[in-house]
Amino acid sequence: MNPTTFNDPNQPGPPDEQDRLLDLRLAALPRFDPSPGFADRVMARIRIPHPAPARVPWYYRPRAVPAGIQRLAAALAVMAATSSSLLTLWIASNFQSLAESARSYATALAASALDELLRQFARWSSFLGEAAAAVASSTGWPAAAAILAGCVAAIPLSMLGLYLLSRSPASAGRTHALR
C-alpha cells in the first residue's frame, strides 16, 4: 500500500488501524434480550430438587426446644467443661497424694461399706458391676476408685448431651431458612 494514501481522509488506514476499527465495531455490538417472561417459561419447566434430610445419628434427633432452655444448656455445658477441666488439673497435680489417701481411706475406713455398695451395684447391673469389679481387681484399685472412674467418665458424656441440646434448633426460629 502506498503510504501517501494514509493522509487521504477518504482512504482506509493501515492494517493495524483496520484491526482496531474492527475491534471497535465488534465491541459495540449489543447483547439481545429474550422476550419478556422468558425466565418464567423456563422456570415452569425446571424440576427443583427437594434435598433429602441430612442423616442424623440415631442418638441425636434434634428437636425444637425453647431458646431459654438452649441458653441454660449452653451455660451448664460451659460450667461442666470448666469445672471438669479444673478438677482434672487438680487431680493431675496431686495425683500421688490423692491416690495414697484414697487407698488408705477406702481400705481403712469404708472398705466394707463400699464393698457392700459394689455388691448392690452388681445386683442392679451385673454387667457393669462385673466390669467395675474386674477393673478393681485388675488394677488393684479399691472398688471406690472404680466407681469414681465411672462417674468421671459420665462427666464428658453429660457435657456432650448438654452441648447437643444447646445446638438443637430453637423452637422460636426456623430450622431450614433456605427456601
Partner: protein
C-alpha cells in the same frame, strides 16, 4: 427469613450449590445472569429471534434440570455456553439437511431430476418479528458475522462480543487452543474482506 438476601454477590458455583439445595431463587439468579449472553449467542448463530428463543429455552431447561451433573471445578459460563452452542450448531446442521431436501434429491442424476424433486415453499411476507430481526441484525457488521461459517461465527461472538478468553472458547467449542486462534484470525480476515475498508 432469607439466608442469602443478595445472591448477586455470590459466585456461580455458590449459586449452583444453593440451587441444588432446592432454592428457586438460585435458579432465577442463574437465569438472570446468563439469559442475555446465551440468547444473544444463539440468536446471532441462527439469526431467527423466535427460533433462538426456543433454543435458548431448551438450553436452559436442559442445563438447569441437569445441574447435578455440572462439575464446579469448571466455569459455569463455559458449561452453559457449550450447551447453547451445541444447540445452535445442531440446529444449523439439521437446517442444512432440510435445505438440501428442499432443493431436490441430493442423489439426483441431473438438474431436471433435482428440479422435479424440489419442494417449493411460498415466501411469507415480512412479519413484525422479521422486521425486528432486520433492525437488530441489519447492520453491516451483523450481516458480515452472519456470512461466516458457524464455527467462525461462534468464535467471533464468544471472543469479541462476550469477551471470553481463548482458553474458555476452546473449552466451550471443544477445540484445541491453536484451532480457536486460527479460526478467530480467519474470521477476522473474512470480516474485513466482507466489510471492506473501515473508517472511524
Amino acid at each position: 427469613m432469607n439466608a442469602h438476601p443478595d445472591l448477586s454477590t455470590l459466585t456461580d458455583q455458590e449459586i449452583v450449590r444453593l440451587a441444588l439445595e432446592g432454592r428457586e431463587a438460585a435458579y432465577r439468579e442463574l437465569l438472570r445472569r446468563y439469559q442475555r449472553p446465551v440468547f444473544s449467542l444463539i440468536y446471532r448463530m441462527v439469526r431467527d429471534r423466535e427460533l433462538a428463543e426456543d433454543l435458548a429455552q431448551e438450553c436452559f431447561v436442559k442445563a438447569l434440570n441437569a445441574l447435578h451433573t455440572y462439575r464446579p471445578e469448571f466455569k459455569f459460563s463455559s458449561w452453559i455456553f457449550k450447551i447453547a452452542n451445541n444447540a445452535a450448531i445442531d440446529h444449523l446442521r439439521r437446517r442444512k439437511l432440510e435445505t438440501l431436501s428442499l432443493e431436490g434429491r441430493p442423489d439426483a442424476r441431473d438438474p431436471e431430476e433435482a428440479q422435479a424433486t424440489a419442494i417449493s415453499v411460498p415466501h411469507p411476507g415480512e412479519s413484525p418479528l422479521e422486521e425486528l430481526e432486520a433492525q437488530e441484525l441489519g447492520s453491516a457488521i451483523e450481516r458480515a458475522i452472519g456470512q461466516l461459517r458457524p464455527e467462525y461465527r461462534a468464535c467471533i461472538i464468544l471472543r469479541h462480543i462476550e469477551g471470553r478468553p481463548y482458553e474458555e472458547i476452546a473449552e466451550i467449542l471443544e477445540l484445541p487452543l491453536g484451532t480457536v486462534k486460527t479460526y478467530i484470525h480467519r474470521a477476522r480476515a473474512q470480516l474485513k474482506e466482507i466489510l471492506g475498508p473501515l473508517r472511524e
